[in-house]
Structures are given as C-alpha cells and as structure tokens.
C-alpha cells in the first residue's frame, strides 16, 4: 500500500500542480474574462524561480515570492490594455501573449538557455509543499467566491450591461481577476520548477493552454470544485488508461467527449446543480402538499 502510494507520488504532485493552473484559469473565466494567459504566467513564474536559484543561488522561497509577485505584475500589466477586449478577442490576445513568452524563452538563450531549458534545479518542493499551496489557494478561491467579488464576477460573466447597471465596475473586477490569475500561475510555475528538476519552454505552450482550459471546462466553471475535479481527472486519466496501450489516446478522447456531453456544465457544476434541483423538487412537492392540505 505504501509503495503504491510512493510510486504514484509524482502523479499526485502533478495533479496538484495542475490544480493550481486550473485555478488560475478558473478565476478569469469566472469573471467573464476569456484569458488563456495562464500558460504564459506559469512560464514566467517557472523561469523566474529557476533563474533565482540556479543563476543567483538565492534560497527557493525568494524564488516563490518573486514568481508570485512577477506573475501578478504581468497579470496587472496585460489587464490594462486587454480591458478593452472581449470574448474571443481577449482569448486570442492572451494566446498571442503565450506565444510571445514562448518565443522569448526559446530565443533569449543567454538567460533561458533556449530549447534546452534550465536543468539541475534542486528539488526543494515536494508533495507536502504542493499540498499546502493548493490548500491556501483553495481557501482564497472559496473566500473570494462567496464574497462580494465573487458575486460581482458572476454578474459580469453573465451580462456586463446588467453588471454596470448595478454599479459593478467591470474594469476593476477584470483587473482583480487578471492579477489573481497571474499570481496563482506564477506560484504554480515556481513550484513546478522546484519540483521537477528541469523546465523547458515547450511545456508552457499551446498544449498546456489547451489542457488547462479543458480542466476547468470539464470540471466546471462556477463552483470552486470545478478546477480541482477537472485537474485531477485530466491528470489521472492518462495513467488509468495505460491498459489500452496504443489506443490510450483514443479512449482518453472518447471519455473527454462523453463526460462533457453528459455533464455539459462540467462534472462538478452539473452534479451540484442536480443535487440542488432534487432538493428544490422535494421542497416544491412539500409546499404543494401543504397547499392542498
């Protein structure tokens, strides 16, 4: 049992790292910002963290703090020009950001070591560290979600016209969302660098962007369980399907489709919704009974 647990430690770690990325994606989507910038923020966090330790020999916690701060700062910086964009235009502008960061990491060889990436980063963050990080971020997400900010996010996402008519500042909340997204992804990137010995540019490209988006949509975009559930599913699924050998990807794709088709609002949100509906149905029938009685 213990050995089973041990041998899957890297998988748990990966799931936790993905959960952080998913939260970074979740927070913007929840606010109605269609940003795909998570991969870019994570790349920045990862490189900052790696360089702080390998080039400057500073302790890793400085790297983590810096990665969060720089992630948040980049988030804030892009939030300003992107405030004018909406929907797919926002998505594509942030996709461009991801590609630009990717190009920088590939081409600025002096600092980033190009395609070879940065290797021999000492492993300073393990399962426990990641667990703590995920716990903290989850707490923040839950707090924000049930607060005035979360409510404002929900209104903005559904209908901006209504939001402004209620006095909700779209610019301010989009800004908050971008900063949070940048900070969380920065943290995720840093932890990844300290957990996986090496980083390479291509990890933070289009593939990451797609998979992270898929995690949140598959898990659910509204409740905070969504990103957690989505990240765990998409991390563990490829491992569970090893038995299918070369048809593994086919089965993975089919499962992905089946789950989104049967749970179109995402696994967590659909289940929570179904549970709520059942309660309402019970309540209503109880009410009807009292009326007729």
């Amino acid at each position: 049992m213990m050995s089973f647990f041990h041998s899957y430690t890297p998988l748990f770690e990966l799931a936790l790292f993905n959960t952080l990325l998913a939260f970074s994606q979740y927070v913007v989507l929840r606010a109605g910002v269609f940003s795909l910038g998570t991969a870019a923020f994570a790349a920045i966090g990862a490189y900052v963290a790696a360089i702080v330790v390998t080039t400057y020999g500073l302790p890793f916690w400085i790297g983590i703090v810096l990665a969060i701060a720089i992630g948040a700062m980049v988030g804030a910086l892009v939030a300003i020009p992107l405030a004018r964009l909406r929907g797919v235009f926002q998505a594509l502008a942030t996709l461009a950001l991801v590609q630009i960061v990717l190009s920088i990491t590939l081409n600025w060889v002096d600092v980033t070591n190009g395609a070879l990436g940065i290797n021999s980063i000492p492993k300073t963050v393990g399962l426990v560290g990641l667990l703590i990080a995920v716990a903290i971020v989850t707490y923040f997400m839950a707090a924000i979600g049930s607060s005035s900010i979360g409510r404002a996010f929900d209104v903005i996402r559904e209908d901006e016209t209504v939001a402004v008519s209620l006095g909700i500042s779209v610019v301010k909340h989009h800004f908050i969302a971008f900063v949070l997204s940048g900070a969380i992804a920065g943290l995720a990137g840093a932890l990844h660098s300290y957990n996986s010995y090496s980083i390479t540019p291509n990890e933070y490209g289009f593939n990451m962007l797609v998979i992270v988006l898929a995690m949140v949509v598959l898990g659910g975009r509204v409740s905070i369980w969504g990103p957690i559930v989505g990240a765990v599913i998409l991390t563990v699924l490829p491992e569970l399907l090893r038995g299918f050998q070369e048809y593994r990807t086919v089965v993975q794709g089919a499962l992905l489709m089946a789950s989104i088709i049967y749970l179109p609002r995402g696994v967590a949100d659909t289940l929570i919704g179904a549970y709520r509906r059942r309660r309402i149905a019970e309540e209503t029938s109880r009410m009807r009974e009292t009326v007729t009685a």
């Binding site: 707090a143 049930s146 607060s147 409510r151 929900d154 008519s165």
Partner: protein
C-alpha cells in the same frame, strides 16, 4: 431627495432621431409616467439616463448634479436603478442570488476582507441574503428563492428584475414595462409596492403599455411619439388629449 430632470435630450441612430429633444421631470416621491407608441424612444431615454447610451444632445440632471457624461457604473452607484424591457437575468443563478446581486452598491466590506474571507465578509453575505428574502416575501416569491431564475415563467422573471432594482435601494427607479406579461390582478398587486417605494421619497419613472396600471399609479404622465413630447399632464388630462388618443390610445 433628488429629482431627475431631462433638458432637450436627444439621441440619433445613424440618421434616425430616436429621441429628439425632450424635456422631462421626475420629482422625488412621485411616480411619473412615460408612455408612447412603439418605437417612440422610451427605452432609448432610459438607456441614456443609465449611461448605456451616449446622448447626442441635451442634459441629464439628477438632483443638483449634471450626470450627462457619467458612466453607467457611477450612475448606478449614486442610486439610479432600472429594470430591462427585454428581461436580463443570470439564468443559471438562483432567484435569491439574482436579487442579492442588486445590493452591490451597498456592500461595505473592503477588497482585502473579501480576498481573505474575513468574518466581516461572511457576515455581510448573510445579512444581504436576509434582506433579499424580505423583498422576495413582498413579491410573493419566497417559495422560488432557490430556483434557477432561467427556469421561471415570464411573469416571475419580470418580478426578479424588479426585486433586483429595488435591492439597490435607489433614489431614482426606472421601470421599463414592469408588468408586461402580467394580468391586471397580478399587476395590481405590484402597484402597492411601487406606491410604497415612492412614498419613501424615491423618484420613479414608469414606462408601461398597460394603461389601467399607468393611469392608476402615475401622478404625472409624459407622452412621447417619434422621439418628441406630444403631451403631458395628469392621467385624466392625458387620457383625454386627442393627440394622445390618435397616436397611442386609439379610439
């Protein structure tokens, strides 16, 4: 207590003057009617007052302030609330959540407390839900509090619009066809609510095609046709005005 004053307000769409220089006053504590044929420009007026549309010409005053250039968020924050003619709700959210959203401008907890989930933020949330439940009770919708708004009938969705606007505890309330889709007795049960709101000193501007509702509720009525004011006065006077009968009421 503030009054709304429109001076020579105008708005063009392309070449079309949808609103063409109107003057209007909605005093505090009163229900002022704005009626007119379809396409007269009533909704356009509301959209300009709430900052969703830029004005082409003229001024909008609210109390002593000129708010012509203010943006929608600011206007909402100084207490201008509205309902939408084409219902706009968060369909996935519950009725309660939709109403709670209306309290936004009264939320006092700071960003910091919200980010860190401090107890003050939690307390505020509960307090708002309690206040929302009081509104629901007034509108006879307590039983639907936890229903997703999107699954409700047209009439019930209209009521959520109104509750959300009232949750803003506005100084000026703009109602764009609030009782459309309700029968007379349903409309009547809402009339009292608006009378009470007005009594508290709120200025109400009411747009509605249900004449029985308008006539029984308004103190003063403006009539708009093709973007221009064609009549104004007490309900009785307006109802007898031959121009209004011709353009709007019909024989």
């Amino acid at each position: 207590m503030k009054a709304l004053v429109l001076e020579d307000l105008a708005r063009n769409f392309g070449g079309l003057p949808a609103v063409d220089g109107i003057r209007l006053e909605a005093p505090a504590g009163r229900i002022t009617g704005l009626i007119g044929p379809n396409g007269a420009g009533k909704t356009t007026v509301v959209n300009m007052i709430t900052g969703l549309l830029k004005v082409t010409r003229g001024r909008i005053k609210f109390g002593d302030d000129d708010v012509t250039e203010a943006d929608a968020t600011q206007l909402a924050r100084i207490g201008i609330a509205r309902t939408f003619q084409n219902i706009r709700l968060i369909s996935d959210a519950t009725v309660l959540e939709n109403v709670v959203a209306g309290f936004h401008r009264h939320e006092t907890t700071g960003t910091f407390a919200n980010l860190f989930g401090l107890p003050s933020a939690q307390r505020e949330r509960r307090a708002l839900e309690d206040k929302a439940m009081i509104l629901l009770e007034q509108f006879g919708m307590t039983g639907l509090a936890r229903h997703p708004a999107g699954g409700l009938s047209y009439g019930h969705q209209r009521r959520i619009e109104m509750m959300r606007a009232l949750a803003m505890d506005p100084a000026l309330l703009l109602l764009d066809e609030p009782v459309a889709g309700m029968n007379d007795s349903e409309a009547h049960s809402l009339a009292d609510i608006f009378r009470n709101v007005a009594r508290r000193g709120v200025a109400i501007l009411l747009i509605e095609h249900n004449m029985r509702f308008v006539m029984s509720l308004c103190d003063h009525i403006y009539v708009l046709a093709s973007g221009r004011l064609i009549a104004e006065g007490t309900p009785d006077a307006v109802g007898r005005d031959p121009r209004v009968i011709e353009a709007y009421l019909g024989a």
